[in-house]
Symmetry: C2
Subunit: 261 residues, 2 copies
């Protein structure tokens, strides 16, 4: 039997931070036909909120160090403010969205990151995606909208990288669906020259990716994103694209497609 | 065909505010057999958070006046912090909880309260409960946990009284299930003498309720709660009880049962 298609889209901070861009993206997302899942990052709202509350936001290698107070902030901002705002906007567009953290219906289980050199605090590394409940929602025309919060099934919420949540969900569902995974962010794709935003590399395979990393063509922040993409491809996801919001609905042909070969 | 039983429990601020009491309640709730739904209020965390952010919390007749900034705070605190904390704790107890606002899966639709004498801002009065998706969760062994946020299907989130959410959900599901609705709060039930916490009236019927209101036996804050209870009974809910956390699991026989006759 031919597998049904499923479109998983992760939107990054720049889309979240810009109200107009977010609304326009959510309109496009609502119009996408077929099964779909949205995963959203946090943007700068958590840092703003932490600052208002007199807390310091500490970032190491682009990842937030999440102490107890900052975990409360990201839980409020990601799972509360942003997730419900996005859900309400999608509902307005007749997209039957359900906002979820990984704790809800036990969808995404993680463990607190093991401390090696750096203690990231309540940061979660994913163990399992509970695909059964996610499938239940999809089969009933409900569109899951995941924020970057997971749990450890021992009562602890954990701040978890949204790129990784998107790829792990895609992998877990790849035995049931033919999946296209899209990473939507501020650039039009993977750049050959970081100073030239139009220097999009239209296609990157695994060998080229490894070469780009070795040669330093790909910048530091891009490496974990591409790592997630290739993990997804290795583990059964059919198609991965990286680009800006115009990627949705094929409004552009300028984006990066990734493949193993 | 005999209807299945469904237990709907609303917990108020005092349970939310006391970490030990909340954990103990959630343990009891997890052990309840059969279908169940939890509805939670906000407690004093929203007022605390608003104060930390330099916002004033204005209450009129015990209800929050919700301007745009305070709506952000209650969305963060109710739908984010508290809802996900409760969900993660229930998951720890192997209760397959899903945290929901009324926007999620379009479960609870409301409109912004019409301004008569008092402008409550972004306060929601409930129009419709979408029982189809709530039933889907229950049928799949998923326990809905509702916070006090709804939406208007036009992209607007609304702060909505949790007592009313509980009674409206109970009413909407009463054609499918035999429902017991419990209001759990700081007292052991409806008191005959507000100064004597043991003066619990064990049973109140509609005629007695109307008499108590006329005679001023029932205090101001209690009237809307009892109003919700009797609305539920009038519209098909089988059983309504009011009491403290010991009400669950029949740990006590000191509580108030309400009935029409």
């Amino acid at each position: 039997m031919k597998k049904q298609k499923l479109h998983i889209i992760k939107i990054g901070g720049n889309v979240i931070n810009n109200e107009e861009l977010l609304t326009s993206f959510l309109n496009d997302f609502s119009e996408l036909e077929g099964l779909k899942i949205l995963v959203h990052g946090g943007g700068n709202k958590a840092t703003e909120m932490a600052a208002k509350l007199g807390l310091k936001s500490k970032m190491i290698n682009g990842r937030r160090v999440t102490d107890k107070a900052n975990l409360e902030v990201v839980t409020m901002v990601y799972a509360g403010l942003l997730n419900k705002k996005i859900t309400a906007q999608l509902q307005q567009n007749n997209c039957n969205a359900i906002g979820l953290s990984g704790a809800d219906a036990n969808c995404v289980l993680a463990h607190k990151r093991i401390v090696k050199d750096i203690d990231y605090g309540f940061a979660g590394d994913i163990d399992t995606v509970n695909s059964q409940n996610i499938k239940l929602f999809l089969q009933n025309n409900i569109t899951p909208v995941f924020c970057a919060i997971t749990h450890n099934k021992k009562g602890q919420l954990l701040n978890t990288n949204a790129d990784t949540i998107a790829s792990e969900i895609a992998i877990a569902l790849s035995s049931t669906f033919t999946i296209e995974l899209n990473y939507v962010f501020e650039l039009k794709g993977v750049l050959n020259n970081i100073k030239d935003k139009s220097s999009v590399i239209k296609h990157v395979n695994l060998r080229e990716y490894e070469q780009f990393v070795a040669e330093g063509v790909i910048s530091e922040g891009m490496i974990p994103k591409l790592h997630n993409c290739f993990e997804a491809l290795k583990k059964g996801v059919q198609k991965v694209k990286i680009g800006d919001t115009s990627l949705i609905h094929n409004k552009t042909n300028l984006y990066t497609t990734l493949s193993l070969k």
